[in-house]
């Protein structure tokens, strides 16, 4: 195995020579994520107040909103890493694995967003689902990135995989502004943004806003922890795959020596 076949953006290079994906840094981040998730449970279910209209259903938003924000971030990371693979001369597979790992985590986060959003919708709107602009574009975002993950597994060499998925990763990210602005582009049952709006006013109770902030911190730490482990796991998967090929070539050479 040549090192250039599996070179990585710095953090994973050690892992390719180790049988584990954990390091001191990942353990610290993991513990921080657990603590932050504990805080989220405490604030989300305990300290934060119920909403005047939504009552207890508002607590769902402390998961719903951070997960979609982190999904946006994950898909942007996928796009940036895809661009780095495509447009740098080194063509490092580390960027490709970073793109793939981020997309996987993003898909999981969008799935969580859609699932808890449906619960919130049933409690607040009275329906689990509506073919509304925000919901529809979010569902399309989810499906697109599931497709991206399927494309990554179509076979071929690592660089073939990287090339085709990088192009898709750069195209798919265009959906994010569409999802975010859908509530302005179309009339929508879904409310407009409260925090990420353009007028600067945040119409949210202080403790609710803090709980949301705790949620963002918790899911960000979780994202980083998952990213570190998943990119390293992917590097190992590539190594194992290449070792299979190497073994086959070695067997053929052995035939020739007989």
């Amino acid at each position: 195995m040549t090192t250039t076949d599996h070179d990585l953006p710095a953090q994973s290079s050690a892992a390719t020579t180790s049988s584990a994906t954990g390091t001191r840094a990942t353990r610290i981040i993991g513990i921080a994520a657990i603590v932050a998730l504990g805080w989220l449970v405490a604030f989300g279910l305990g300290f934060s107040p119920a909403d005047r209209d939504q009552e207890e259903a508002v607590r769902i938003l402390y998961v719903h909103v951070p997960t979609i924000w982190l999904a946006y971030l994950a898909f942007v990371v996928t796009a940036v890493a895809s661009a780095m693979y495509l447009f740098t001369s080194k063509k490092s597979l580390g960027w490709d694995r970073m793109a793939g790992a981020s997309a996987e985590i993003g898909v999981v986060f969008v799935a969580v967003t859609l699932a808890v959003g449906a619960m919130w919708g049933r409690l607040t709107w009275g329906v689990f689902w509506q073919w509304d602009a925000r919901l529809t574009t979010t569902a399309l975002l989810f499906v697109t990135y599931v497709g991206y993950l399927a494309v990554r597994r179509l076979g071929g060499s690592h660089h073939q995989r990287a090339r085709r998925s990088s192009v898709l990763g750069l195209i798919a990210v265009i959906e994010i502004p569409l999802v975010h602005w859908s509530v302005r582009l179309w009339r929508s049952l879904h409310q407009e943004a409260t925090v990420l709006d353009t007028d600067g006013d945040i119409d949210m109770d202080g403790l609710m806003l803090f709980s949301l902030f705790v949620g963002v911190v918790a899911f960000t730490l979780l994202y980083v922890w998952l990213m570190l482990h998943r990119t390293r796991t992917m590097a190992m998967e590539d190594i194992v795959e290449d070792r299979g090929l190497d073994a086959a070539l070695a067997a053929r050479r052995a035939e020739g020596e007989l």
Partner: protein
């Protein structure tokens, strides 16, 4: 690759497919990766369904109460989605039928809904009602509560202020 230069492989190694004694292939062709192909097919189907459903739902114009009879598509003889705020004191429930009126920008529309609206349906809250306007009233078959982008604590003093002010729908001064 494991201590060797892959570019030398073609010279050093016979890469022709191996055969058994009877002439059949020693190893079958590498199995095609069917799962990603199936997932991709499902993705295309799901994408098509999502877009189709979105376009179908868009056939019912999304109108505010004050646009009925004014804006193209917001006519009384077709199915629409009508948005307005539930008027204070207008909710009447009788034998499974819920009647109320909704207002937006100074215009009002009576609504008759065969059922009990779910969600956080109540007075002074924005709703979207699906249905057809007949004899001056919207005959609704679906009521969805539209939550605003404001989040107010249930025990906030502003609740008392809001109660004192009565029903002051957001759309009324829009």
């Amino acid at each position: 690759m494991v201590g060797s230069d892959p570019t030398r492989g073609a010279d050093d190694v016979d890469l022709t497919p191996r055969t058994n004694v009877d002439g059949t292939a020693a190893a079958g062709p590498r199995p095609r990766q069917w799962l990603p192909i199936i997932v991709l097919a499902l993705v295309f189907v799901a994408g098509g369904v999502i877009v189709t459903q979105f376009l179908r739902s868009a056939v019912d114009y999304y109108c505010n109460v004050d646009e009925v009879g004014v804006r193209d598509g917001c006519d009384a003889d077709r199915r629409i989605r009508l948005q307005g705020t539930v008027d204070e004191g207008s909710i009447v429930q009788d034998r499974g039928v819920t009647s109320f009126s909704i207002s937006f920008n100074g215009s009002s529309m009576p609504v008759v809904y065969d059922g009990e609206p779910g969600g956080i349906f109540k007075e002074c809250i924005p709703v979207v009602v699906h249905g057809v306007i007949e004899q001056g009233a919207l005959q609704g078959d679906r009521v969805e509560v539209k939550h605003s982008d404001e989040y107010v604590a249930v025990n906030d003093e502003r609740v008392a202020d809001a109660t004192d002010l009565g029903c002051n729908p957001p759309g009324s001064d829009a």
